[in-house]
Symmetry: D3
Subunit: 151 residues, 6 copies
C-alpha cells in the first residue's frame, strides 16, 4: 500500500534519507501558464520588442528561485543545479512558461523546475497587476523527468 | 493608455517609488488549488487525523514564504506583515488553499498572499509526489483586496 | 483558561494578528552560557589578547542572526531592530553570553535576543570543537523585557 | 599544543581548507531540552492529540535551520545533507529534543545537528511564551558522531 | 576626537542604537564603473539592442541586493526601501553604474545604494568573464545623500 | 567570434549547463582596495591593536558573502567552497583586500573571490562612514585562477 515518503511510521515529517542513492544525471521539465488580457499581452510584447524587461525579470526571478528551492520547500534536499533555463511562449490569452533544470545528484529536480515556473508566473503577475485585474496562474505541472546513469 | 508600472519610460525595470503613499491597513486574500487523486487525498486526510503533518508542513512553508516575498519577486517592496493565515479545504479531487495576509503599509500585500498559496501548493506536491504522478497546481488568483485608512 | 496564542481554535498555526497593537519602544535582554574546559577558555582568551577573533566572530554571527529571526522562527513577525549588542563574560568554566535588542514595534523582541544568544553559543562551539569535546550550551533564557510608550 | 583550527597563525578567522579531506558517510546526533511548566506541557500535548502543530512547527523550523547552518555559523562549510530527522520526547518538566543529520561529505555535521536542536527549542519557546514565563533552553550538546568510508 | 561609531568604548562591534532618531525621507545615490574591452562593450550593446539581458540581469541583481544589504553588511539596520532604481551608461571603455535608493527611516541608505552598484558590477563581470579577462571594478563611491523631514 | 556564454542564441539569460564538465580542484584569488583618509586608517589600526573588530567584522562578512554568491549573482552555480580566506594590508591611504577561495567543482570560483572582496570593502565603508566622507572602493579584479585535475 502506498504511503507518504516524507512521513515516518508515526506520521512525523522528515527529510528522507538519500545517502544510499547513487548520483545520476537528472533532468526535469515543468510547465505552467498565466492567463492575461490580450491588452496585457500586447504591453508585455511591446516592452519585449524594446527591452524585454518583463520576461527578463521573470526569467531571472525563476532561475534564482530554483536555487532557493531547498529553503522554500521544507523537506527538499540541497541539490547543486548544473543548468536552469526558462522559456516563455506568448499565446492568445496566456504566457506559457517552461522551466528545464539539470543536476548530477542522488535525487531529482522536479520541485526545482516547478518552483521556477511558479515564481516566473508570480513575477509576471506582479509586474502586470496594475493594468490587469483578471490574471490567474494555472496548469502548473511536470512535463517530463529523466535519469541517466553517470558515464 | 495603461502602461506597466514597474517599467520606466525607457522600458527599464525599477522598484517603484512609494514614498508619497500613505500607510493604511491592508488585507489581501488569495486562493488556489492542487488537483490530486482521491487516494492521495485519503492519505493526507488519514495523516491529518493522526498528526496533520502534510498540511501543517505546507502551512508553515506558506507562512515563511509570505515573509520572503520581497526576495522572491524582484520588484516587490519589503513589507512588515501583521498577520498571515493559511487554510486548507479538502475537496473531492483537490486541496483548496486560502491565504490571508494583513499589513500596515504604503503598498498592498496581494503578492504575499499569492506567494503563500503557491508555496503551500508546491509543498503538498513535494510530499505527495512519490504516490501521485497526476498532480497539477491551478486556479491561483486574488480573491479580495481591501484598504482601510489608519484610525 | 490559558491557550497557545499561535494556534487558532482548530489548533492550526498562524502568524498572530498584531495590526491592532500600538508600536512602543521595546527592549529584551537574553542570556545563556556555553560550558568549556579551562584550557579552551585559555585559548579563547589568548586569542582575545591578540586579535579577539573567536568572540568577535560569535558577536557578528549573533547580530546577523537577530536580524534573521523572522526567517528562523516560523511564526515570528518581521521587526526592524534599532539596536543589537552582544556581550561575553569569561567565567571559570564557561563563556556567559548576554544579548540586548531594541525596537520600535507592535510586538516584542525576546525571540531576537534569544536567537542572538543561541547563535553566539553555537559559533563558539564551532570554533572550539576541534580542541574541546565536552562543550554544552545551557541556561538560555530571558533576563528582562520592557515596553515604553512612544513619546 | 592544541590550537583553534579556525584561526591562522596570526589569530585571524578563516574557513579552514578541507580540499584534501576524503568524503565519507557522516552522521551526527545532538540533543537538548527546553524546561517548561507542567501546564505548558499539557497544552502542547493536547494540541498534539488534536493537530500536533506546536511540535510539527518546531520540527519543520529545525529541519530548515539545519540546511541554513552555513549561513548562520560563519565558518561552517556548505554541506549537502542527505537526511535530517528531529524527535521530541515529552518528559515531566521538559521537552527533550533529538536531531539526527547525515551527509556524504568531507567534513562533519555536528553543527547542523546542534543548530537543528537550538532552533527547535527556540520555536517551542516562541509558541509557548504567552502562557509560560519560566522556560529555559538547556543541555544542548553532541550525543554521537560517526564516520564511515564510502563503499 | 572622532571615533568609529559601530564600536563601543571597549572596541567591540554592535548595531548602533537608532531608537532616538526621527524617521525622515532619505535618498542616496551611489556610482561606480566596470572597465571592459571595447569588444565586450559591443557585445553588451548588441545584446541590448536585441533583448537587453546583460544589463537587465545586472539591474535585477542590484535591486535585489539592495533589499539584502542588512544581511550582507553585518552592522546595517533593516530599512524598508521605498524606491530602488539602477541606471547604466555605456562609455568608451566602461559601463558606468548609478543606483538611487529612497526610504522613510531613522537612518540613511548609502550602504544600500553602494551595495546595489557593487552587485550590478559583479553581475556584469560574471556574464562577460568568458570573453574579457581584463575587467576591473572601480570608483565605487557615494554621489549624494539627502534627508528631508517628514511633512 | 566570441559571444556571451550566459545568453542563448536568442539573447536570453540562462544558467549555463555544466553537467559535462569534470570536477577539479580550483582556486581563485581576487583583490581590491578601499581608499581612506590617513586618520581613518589610524582609527582602524588602533582598534586593531586593541580588538581588531573593524577588520574582523569585514573578514566575517566577506566569508559569509562568498558562500552567498549564487544567490547574489543570478547566473552563478551553487558551488561548495572548501576554503575561504580574506587578508588585509594597511597601506598609506588604503586598505588592500585579498580573498582566496578554493573548491572541488565543475566550474570556477572567481565570482566568489570577487564577491568576498567587494563585501569586505563595503563593510569597512559602513563602519568608517561616520568619520570619513572621502572613501572610494577601487581596483577590484582577479589576481589569479588555477585548475588542478583531481588525483
Amino acid at each position: 500500500m502506498p504511503s507518504l515518503t516524507h512521513l515516518d511510521d508515526a506520521g512525523k515529517a522528515s527529510m528522507v534519507d538519500i545517502s544510499d542513492k547513487t548520483p545520476c544525471l537528472r533532468e526535469a521539465v515543468a510547465t505552467g501558464r498565466i492567463l492575461l488580457l490580450p491588452e496585457t499581452l500586447r504591453l508585455i510584447q511591446e516592452n519585449g520588442l524594446k527591452k524585454g524587461d518583463v520576461l527578463a525579470v521573470a526569467r531571472i526571478a525563476a532561475i534564482q528561485a530554483a536555487k532557493q528551492t531547498q529553503h522554500l520547500i521544507p523537506l527538499c534536499h540541497q541539490i547543486p543545479l548544473s543548468k536552469v533555463a526558462v522559456d516563455f511562449d506568448l499565446q492568445a490569452q496566456a504566457v506559457h512558461i517552461t522551466a528545464t533544470v539539470k543536476t548530477t545528484a542522488a535525487t531529482g529536480v522536479e520541485m526545482e523546475a516547478l518552483t521556477a515556473v511558479s515564481i516566473a508566473a508570480l513575477t509576471i503577475y506582479d509586474m502586470c497587476k496594475a493594468v490587469d485585474k483578471t490574471m490567474q496562474i494555472t496548469d502548473i505541472g511536470l512535463l517530463s523527468k529523466t535519469k541517466t546513469p553517470l558515464p
